[in-house]
């Protein structure tokens, strides 16, 4: 590990790192010149494929493979760069853009050359006003110096890059939601197929890549696929920007080889847990990826190993640490509130499910919890998302995973909370309870009439006694 040399963040602390002369003086735009003048697009795709670069946006899909899904006979291709970065506690794209925009533009240039895209759209998060201005300036500078525009480096390749600001929706970080939003529509993810590689932005073949993914590309071209594969763990190669936030002494974004552990991040880079406390849990890669308990902090944070303790994936590698005083009820409440607020409202299970989870957590937090609520939550969480196949995009998985992980790992604590926090004002009324169980309200001596034939649905005869 000691030999690791940061590449993505190498310019971050250089004065005026966002300007073109500084970037060029530090070896910038060499890789793009090499790619455009010495290589052909298929060769570039092959190099990226060989490097086994996986998308840094969250899903970890192999980038070279994604590029090779484009139809061979396409006449027009669009590149969309996902800079929406709306996952809570994630800020690596912001630093990449604000501190080193030209590295990013060089990545765009090479990726567009490889995919034969003459237009690239950089979709930036609404809140990134500063990054937007820096990008606008950087694009103008690059264009003036011939790194963008017509016939770049005399290779005959044209490229225009446009910046587009979102309108503040989490869902627009989903690739098809992003495309819809870019087209000026409501950010509702599209069903697949057709995949964006076949029919994406403006119904043309489209590649959607994350900012960090593209920032890796110039280095792969410059140093070769073997260099890239020498970093990281099997199936998860290369450097990665880890964001560490939450209850630590130093909230930072550091570049490390893939596969460091949470413990290493906290102790070596974040200065330990704050106030001398112990850590209780951590979110491994953005809120949607689930939850690691302190006992699981030695699991390597890469694309494969992180699944073993039951997390959804590496996500954006934004680790949020929670200390021992943090209530898991608060964590779940916050997570459910976030997803209920951000669900786009398209698919029924997500639209209604996230809202239901949120309301349930709100009631539990206020003191109206029932133990059976946890079973209902677990059941809801297991049935929403693209994993069970009930939604179009992964937002519902992201909403479900914190619930599933928290209930699997901290159920005892949440049950204790429910038992010790009971406020009559927020409790479920006997009538609500009765309706929910399909039985007559407590205290009423009029039994519900027996249906002449069994109604569709669960057999209520057994339930009635269970909750009596």
């Amino acid at each position: 590990m000691a030999a690791f040399e940061p590449v993505l963040s190498r310019n971050w602390n250089v004065p005026d790192s966002h300007t073109l002369p500084v970037y060029e003086s530090r070896g910038g735009y060499k890789a793009s010149r090499k790619a455009l003048t010495e290589m052909d697009p298929d060769k570039v795709v092959q190099v990226v494929k060989d490097s086994e670069l996986r998308g840094r946006g969250g899903a970890g899909f192999p980038t070279g493979l994604k590029w090779s899904f484009l139809p061979k006979d396409r006449t027009q291709t669009f590149m969309c760069v996902n800079g929406d970065e709306s996952e809570p506690a994630t800020f690596n794209n912001r630093l990449l853009i604000e501190r080193d925009p030209h590295q990013f533009i060089e990545g765009i240039l090479i990726a567009c050359f490889a995919t034969k895209a003459a237009t690239a759209y950089v979709y930036l998060r609404f809140e990134y006003i500063h990054a937007f201005r820096i990008m606008e300036r950087a694009i103008a500078d690059a264009r003036e110096k011939g790194h963008l525009g017509k016939d770049i480096y005399g290779s005959g390749f044209d490229l225009e890059v446009y910046c587009h600001r979102g309108a503040g929706a989490y869902i627009c970080g989903e690739e098809t939601g992003l495309i819809e939003s870019l087209e000026g529509k409501r950010g509702w993810p599209r069903i697949k197929p057709p995949f964006p590689a076949i029919e994406g932005a403006f119904r043309k073949p489209t590649v959607v890549n994350n900012v960090e993914t593209l920032a890796c590309v110039p280095h792969i071209i410059e140093r070769g696929a073997d260099w890239f594969k020498s970093i990281g763990t099997p199936k998860s190669y290369g450097p990665k920007l880890y964001c560490i936030s939450g209850h630590v002494n130093k909230q930072v974004c550091v570049e490390l080889p893939l596969g460091v552990t949470t413990n290493q991040l906290i102790e070596e880079h974040a200065g330990g847990v704050w106030k001398g406390r112990k850590a209780k849990a951590a979110v491994p890669g953005g809120i949607s990826m689930g939850l690691l308990s302190a006992a699981e902090f030695d699991v390597p944070l890469d694309f494969e190993e992180i699944r073993k303790p039951g997390c959804l994936g590496l996500g954006t590698a934004a680790v949020t640490v929670m200390d021992e005083t943090t209530s898991m009820v608060d964590y779940l409440y916050n997570s459910c509130r976030f997803f209920a607020h951000e669900s786009c409202g398209q698919c029924t299970p997500c639209r209604e499910g996230t809202g239901w989870l949120y309301k349930m957590m709100k009631r539990i937090k206020a003191g109206g919890g029932r133990l059976e609520d946890l079973d209902i939550m677990d059941n809801l969480a297991k049935n929403m998302g693209i994993m069970p196949g009930t939604t179009i995009c992964g937002l519902a998985d992201g909403a479900a995973w914190p619930v599933r992980n928290a209930l699997a790992k901290f159920r005892g604590e949440i049950e204790d909370y429910i038992k010790t926090h009971q406020a009559p004002r927020y409790q479920v009324t006997p009538l609500q309870q009765a309706i929910a169980h399909g039985q007559s309200p407590v205290g009423s001596d009029t039994p519900m009439p027996d249906p002449t034939r069994r109604l569709p649905g669960p057999d209520l005869s057994t339930r009635a006694t269970a909750h009596a």
């Binding site: 929706a169 599209r190 669900s343 639209r351 049935n383 069970p388 196949g389």
Partner: protein, 590 residues
């Protein structure tokens, strides 16, 4: 030969149709419930009701591989080797879950909801839902609002299938409706100050699977289950849209679109939709009248007396060697035009037959949805078809012309016959008016009065009727059965939706009495069968039966129609009508 396996049974798929799993399952008698899917709209798969287990059979080894997760049926193509499981435990648990979700914020106001009885939520709750509900939190009550002067949106009932939004974007291209807000606060809405007022707007009410979009014209007027539905043809323009005329207690309450891929697809225009009102007008002719029976003016007479007077008057003129003319309205059915022409030619072989005035308004308006442009989601199953509202505001010009051409080899238009009548050429004139709006104003009426003896068959008190010698009270479009030939030359059959009004008789019966065929009610199918044997243009019709989607007359071959798979939303299909037993659509063949 492509085979598909549904719930363990192999079926052979029809050639040349691109079906999805829902359609294929329906074809072979399995129901996959759905809300957001509609064959004319792009597939967005957002209701998630139609999720099933899907797999494929390896053609070589015969091994079946299932997709591990649930897949929306609306998006699954039915191909050779596709395996569908629609009735497994996994699927039914999922359906229960979706029903539970959809009912979270849905008010249980079925007793006062117009959709009750034909509601997707009600039907599927019963078939696929559950009796208990685990939701004990506070519900969201979204507001009610007007999306136009004619359409109300009860947002609390909406299940966000977005059919209406896609309709305005993809079919009319006007895009008035949109979705605002996110998550479970999402609502359908219009842009400020831009109501949903395109000419096809009313179709969103038909499209809505629940009672969220409501026609204010019909709101709280009738319960759906009391309405009897009649397969009719709209008479408002020459398109000849297929409609379901819904009647109760001798009154029409509304028209809904009826599927015909060759004519109107799934839609009707708002003008046609509201045209039912003219059949309920209080000032329709309620009796027959004759001049000179008692005193000088028009006097009310019985049916027998009126028809006798008319027949004797016409015959007397013919006997005296006077010229006779008949003017046939383009609102007459083919059968009526035939009987009337045969009758007048029977009185005098030199009788002149002419076509009445062709009402026209504006210009043709065509909506041409594109397969790709303006659409979202998966459009691979779509076969877009245009919809035209014609400027020619009558249903049967082509049909009447075909009859006239047969009887006298040419069609005399109204301008010519009007000039000839005005010049005093004819001693007797028989005018079948029957238009919804009066076809002859004072000037025209005065010209036509130049004949010595004037018989008028009409439905309202028009200026011409006031001048007539005999006024026969005929049937409105809703009261008569018969066939119309639309702008394509397509013969379509329309059922009568209402019984004849008191004091009137259907035109066909009146004409039969005049022709001396007796007073027993005469069936239009009998006449149509006769027309088919006598008039070569109609020879394609056999035994008086018109196929479900109509038939092109005059020997022109039927154009091939792709993607014309029979379709009715299941909540509108009468229960118990099995899709495969009584023909496509679950409807009996006429």
């Amino acid at each position: 030969m492509a085979t598909i396996i549904i719930n363990g049974t192999e079926h052979t798929l029809p050639e040349g149709e691109k079906l999805n799993a829902i359609q294929a399952a329906k074809l072979f008698g399995h129901e996959i419930p759905y809300y957001c899917w509609h064959p004319a709209l792009s597939v967005v798969a957002n209701c998630r009701m139609c999720e099933i287990e899907v797999g494929s059979k390896d053609p070589k080894t015969g091994e079946i591989k299932m997709v591990p997760k649930l897949v929306p049926g609306c998006q699954t193509p039915a191909k050779d080797g596709t395996v569908l499981v629609t009735d497994s435990e996994k699927v039914s648990v999922h359906q229960k879950m979706i029903m539970e979700y959809l009912l979270i914020n849905h008010p249980l106001d079925c007793p006062v909801c117009d959709q009750a009885g034909q509601c997707g939520l009600q039907d599927y709750s019963y078939e696929y839902g559950q009796a208990a509900h685990r939701f004990v939190e506070e519900r969201i009550v979204n507001p009610r609002k007007d999306v136009s002067d004619a359409i109300q949106l009860n947002q609390d009932r909406c299940i966000m299938c977005t059919r209406c939004v896609r309709f305005t974007r993809e079919i009319t291209g006007s895009g008035e409706l949109n979705v605002i807000n996110r998550g479970n606060h999402a609502e359908i809405d219009i842009f400020p100050g831009q109501p949903l007022d395109n000419p096809l707007a009313g179709n969103v009410v038909d499209l809505c699977p629940v009672g969220a979009l409501l026609d204010k014209d019909f709101l709280h007027k009738q319960r759906f289950w009391f309405l009897s539905k009649h397969d009719s043809i709209c008479t408002r323009c020459s398109t000849g849209c297929n409609i379901a005329a819904e009647e109760n207690r001798g009154q029409l309450w509304r028209f809904r679109a009826r599927y015909n891929p060759k004519v109107n697809d799934y839609w009707i225009c708002d003008e046609g939709r509201s045209s039912y009102k003219s059949a309920n007008e209080p000032n329709l002719l309620s009796a027959m009248f004759a001049r000179g029976v008692a005193g000088g003016g028009l006097t009310q007479v019985g049916v027998e007396q009126a028809t006798t007077l008319a027949r004797e008057g016409l015959q007397r003129m013919a006997r005296e060697g006077g010229a006779i003319a008949g003017i046939l309205s383009p609102f007459l059915t083919v059968e009526e035009a035939y009987v009337m022409s045969a009758y007048l030619k029977g009185i005098s072989s030199s009788a002149v037959l002419a076509l009445g005035p062709i009402p026209s308004m504006g210009s043709d308006q065509t909506f041409t949805p594109d397969k790709i442009a303006g659409r979202n989601g998966d459009t691979s199953f779509l076969v877009p078809r245009p919809f035209t509202i014609h400027a020619e505001k009558c249903p049967n010009r082509m049909g009447v012309e075909a009859i006239l051409s047969h009887f006298q080899g040419e069609v005399i238009d109204y301008a010519a016959i009007s000039a000839r009548v005005a010049s005093g050429e004819f001693r007797a004139l028989f005018v079948a008016s029957d238009a919804i709006d009066p076809a002859y104003m004072e000037d025209d009426a005065a010209k036509l009065r130049r004949s010595d003896f004037l018989v008028v068959m009409d439905t309202t008190v028009t200026p011409l009727a006031r001048l007539a010698d005999v006024v026969l009270a005929g049937a409105t479009f809703a009261e008569k059965a018969g066939s119309y030939v639309n702008f394509q030359g397509r013969l379509q059959y329309s059922e009568a939706a209402l019984p004849p009004r008191d004091g009137s008789l259907p035109d066909l019966d009146l004409l039969a009495i005049l022709s001396g065929k007796g007073t027993a009610p005469i069936h239009s199918r009998t006449i149509l069968a006769e027309v088919a044997t006598v008039v070569p243009a109609f020879s394609i019709v056999t035994e008086g039966k018109v196929p479900e989607f109509g038939v092109i007359i005059g020997g022109t071959p039927e154009p091939a129609t792709v993607g014309a798979f029979p379709y009715t939303d299941p909540w509108l299909t009468p229960r118990g009508d099995h899709p495969t037993e009584s023909g496509p659509n679950g409807r009996k063949q006429p």
